[in-house]
Amino acid sequence: MMALSRTTLFGGVLLLAGVIGFALLPGFVGGYGLSMAINFLMFAILATAWAMFSGPSGYVSLATVAFFGIGAYTVAVLGERLPWGAVLLLAAAIAFLVALLVGLSTLRLRGVYFVIFSFGLAELIRQVVNWYESTQAGSVGRYVFLDITQEQIVWQLTAVLALLFIVGWLIERSRVGFALRMIGDDETVALHCGVNITLIKVLVFSLSAAFMALVGAIVAPRWTYLDPSIAFNPNISFQVLIMALLGGARRLYGPLLGVIPMVLLFEYLSTHFPHLFSVLLGVTFLAIVYLVPHGVAGLIEGYVQRYRKRFPGKRGGENAGAKARQGGAL
């Protein structure tokens, strides 16, 4: 078996093309184009990071914005006091630790407890930050005056996206990724095969949280003014969930397929139907859950499998031969 399959090489080429494309983009588009690019990159990273854990494991996390907000707030508080690189690392580290704590307490239990806790986590952190700011820091909002241009944000996000894809790809082909898929299929079986399921879950969850915080930190300078309700806006968790589910959470490239149409749709909705935004979001989400439960990537996989059955190559030939010998019995 080859170490790198054709699809992987293809994916690698696409990734490289994407990176080069985004790196050169600022030379070709103006402010609005860059803003859209930032939106796209931001959600691409959030959705892919979300799916990295929640896709194979089946543990639906509703806490995306909790970690995003941690990243944004780290910049708001420390952005002017520490070098930029240190702030980014710190944001990722804090989110990693918080996720570690949350994970160790709730991932040892049934999936539903984790979902509930993640549901409330963003709200919880928002309240704590709010309390801290109003009692200790004196005022609730913060100003972010950092000299970072839109181009620099685009480049940083591109680099993080590329890093995420590489990390995600490495995990997928490693034992950790395999164990996570086992966990998603049947935790009891995974346990009895020797997998330390809590450790795996917590590690991957914390890693995805770190990436989410990185995004929050990088885009924070966009806002100049930041307060808890902006940084911890629950709509973000929700939008990420829609995109990842629409695209398909079980494949690394899946969420991207959902990000592209949804970023455009949300942009359109918030400009033309701001009052209907929530309702339409909910309806879109329901449509996905009921009509496309495995996302677009799932649909693609389904077509590929049916194609392989009708036009069997080497693998299909063995099975077809065996079936013929058994007289066609399945």
Binding site: G58, V60, L62, S105, T106, R108, L109, R110, G111, V112, Y113, V115, I116, F117, F119, G120, E123, L124, Q127, V128, N130, W131, S134, T135, P234, F238, L241, L245, H275, L276, F277, S278, V279, L280, L281, G282, V283, F285, L286, V289, Y290, P293
Partner: protein
């Protein structure tokens, strides 16, 4: 005295939480649906009561009689049309939980969006009764007392329904083991729909009651859902008495934290309590041990 204030406030708050949680206990325990949109129904009912009071001059107690049956019917329909297909589609309980979480998450935004559309994002409140009683030197608002009194009546009615009637026993059977209940001749689908509708009716009642003494806005549903979920899990999913006890404990903890620590940290205290209970007894205070 601060202590008595906190105690009385905690008990009334806890009574409301218990009522709110009882509905979700039915939905989760019997129908096996983890309903993330639960709190939205509470808020929707609160707004309905507000509208009936301000525009139609119908007092909240009468509003109960109007709003609750509507909520009952709406939830029954939601179960049959939206949620039963998921039950059929799911291989096991875990998958049903994930699917119902996702579906009700979408429903959450639809309902919240509709309320936002109709009422906007401002805070609303109204005053029905403004008397204040003094008990042992501590003031207690009459509207809160009324709310708790109605909550007690409803809770007792629910308890009697579940324990003393045949349909109630059928519901309890389904919450213990749906397959065995089916073998005993119980229509599990009808029972689940009934339980889900009952839960919806209860949360609507809670919404009307809460609207009497709180300010509310369209985005508050999520916090109520969270607290209800926490109470249900803490009390051991499916246990009515557990929900009652957990609701009271939560109300007391929140009240004491608000008075003695900081009002802005009540949610943190709630979550801390939740975590502690989960770490010590993962099946909740009265849950079943084993598998």
């Amino acid at each position: 005295m601060a202590f008595l204030d906190a105690l009385l406030n905690g008990l009334t708050l806890g009574g409301m939480y218990a009522l709110v949680a009882m509905g979700l206990t039915l939905q989760y325990g019997v129908a096996r649906i983890m309903n993330l949109s639960y709190g939205e129904f509470l808020i929707a009912a609160a707004f309905a009561a507000f509208w009936l009071f301000q525009v139609q001059a119908i007092n909240p107690l009468l509003a109960l009689v109007l709003v609750v049956p509507v909520a009952f019917g709406a939830n029954w329909l939601i179960y049959q049309i939206m949620l039963h297909p998921l039950v059929k589609r799911s291989r096991d309980r875990g998958e049903l939980e994930v699917n119902s979480i996702l579906a009700t998450f979408g429903l959450l935004f639809v309902i919240q969006g509709l309320v936002l559309l109709l009422f906007g994002s401002n805070y609303f409140s109204y005053t029905y009764i403004s008397n204040v009683f003094i008990i042992a030197g501590s003031p207690i608002a009459a509207d809160r007392l009324l709310a708790v009194a109605v909550a007690v009546v409803l809770g007792t009615a629910l308890y009697l329904l579940l324990m003393r009637t045949r349909p109630g026993t059928a519901l309890r059977a389904v919450s213990v083991d749906p397959r065995a209940a089916q073998l005993a001749g119980i229509d599990v689908r009808a029972a689940s729909a009934m339980a889900f509708a009952l839960g919806g009716g209860l949360v609507a009642a809670s919404g009307v009651l809460v609207s009497m003494f709180t300010t509310f806005n369209a985005s508050m549903g999520v916090v109520f859902t969270m607290k209800a979920l926490i109470v249900v899990i803490m009390g051991g999913a499916g246990h009515l008495m557990g929900a009652l006890a957990a609701g009271l404990i939560l109300g007391l903890v929140e009240s004491f934290v608000a008075v003695y620590v900081a009002p802005g940290l009540t949610l943190a205290a709630t979550f801390a309590l939740f975590l502690i209970v989960l770490l010590i007894r993962p099946t909740g205070m009265m849950g079943r041990a084993g598998a």
